[in-house]
């Protein structure tokens, strides 16, 4: 299992702040996870298959979509940051 966290407008659009998720294969990458989430349809497809930018952190470090996930990972999805 991994933990998935959603932030800012993604959290609002999806209505989910955090969920536990079972990886579907031992070599599942971030990109594969995003494709799987997009299959939930509606807003999920809009975010994970759409044209808007999705930033990803694994274990609180920014990563690229080709990173392979492991059980116990914490994955955060969020839009471009706007602090400062």
């Amino acid at each position: 299992m991994i933990d998935i966290l959603y932030f800012a407008r993604f959290r609002e659009k999806l209505g989910v702040e955090r969920e536990q998720f079972a990886l579907s294969s031992p070599h599942q990458t971030v990109a594969m996870l995003m494709a799987e989430l997009a299959e939930r349809g509606d807003n999920w497809a809009g975010i994970f298959k759409g044209s808007q930018q999705v930033l990803v952190a694994v274990n609180q470090e920014m990563v690229k979509p080709d990173l392979v996930l492991n059980d116990g990972d914490e994955v955060g999805f969020f839009p471009p940051v706007t602090g400062g």
Binding site: A8, A57, Q60, M62, F78, P79, P80, V81, G83, G84
Partner: protein
């Protein structure tokens, strides 16, 4: 020494800077940036803002930015304080203060830290306008500022 704090309550920039100066008497310069909430954005009056962040990751991301700044310049002490939660116009959002022996490195270090904070620390702003609440979009000028630093590597 680095001080990195995320907090709901306001900070006292003057007191923070005084502390930085007194922490190391070999430093001759302190440069600081204070980001303030504006009452306007994209042509609309803004009455309130909510700042959200990713607890844990935010602190790590800021620490990483400060470490990278230290690799480029000889810096003394660094303080980064960022508020989260509800903010009103004229509220101070962020303080970046940097000391160094002479001013050049403190100027560069301070600008580098705020530029990278804006594009890589996980904060998000949501603002309240007469037309409703909306999430703030990233700015191309912020991205361009970071690209400039990367070119200088």
């Amino acid at each position: 020494m680095d001080t990195i704090r995320i907090q709901q309550q306001p900070f006292d920039a003057g007191a923070e800077i005084k502390q930085l100066i007194e922490a190391d008497q070999a430093m001759g310069a302190v440069v600081n940036f204070v980001g303030v909430m504006r009452n306007m954005n994209d042509g609309d009056a803004v009455s309130e803002m909510i700042l959200e962040h990713y607890p844990g990751m935010t602190e790590n991301a800021l620490q990483k930015i400060v470490v990278e700044a230290r690799e480029r310049w000889q810096l003394g002490n660094v303080t980064v304080i960022h508020r989260v939660g509800k903010l009103q116009p004229s509220d101070e959002i962020v303080l970046v203060a940097v000391t160094s022996e002479h001013r050049g490195e403190a100027f560069d270090g301070c600008e580098y830290i705020i530029d990278f904070l804006k594009t890589s620390a996980p904060f998000w702003k949501k603002e309240k306008t007469a037309r409703g609440d909306r999430w703030v979009d990233e700015r191309q000028t912020d991205i361009a500022a970071v690209e400039q630093w990367k070119k200088q590597e």
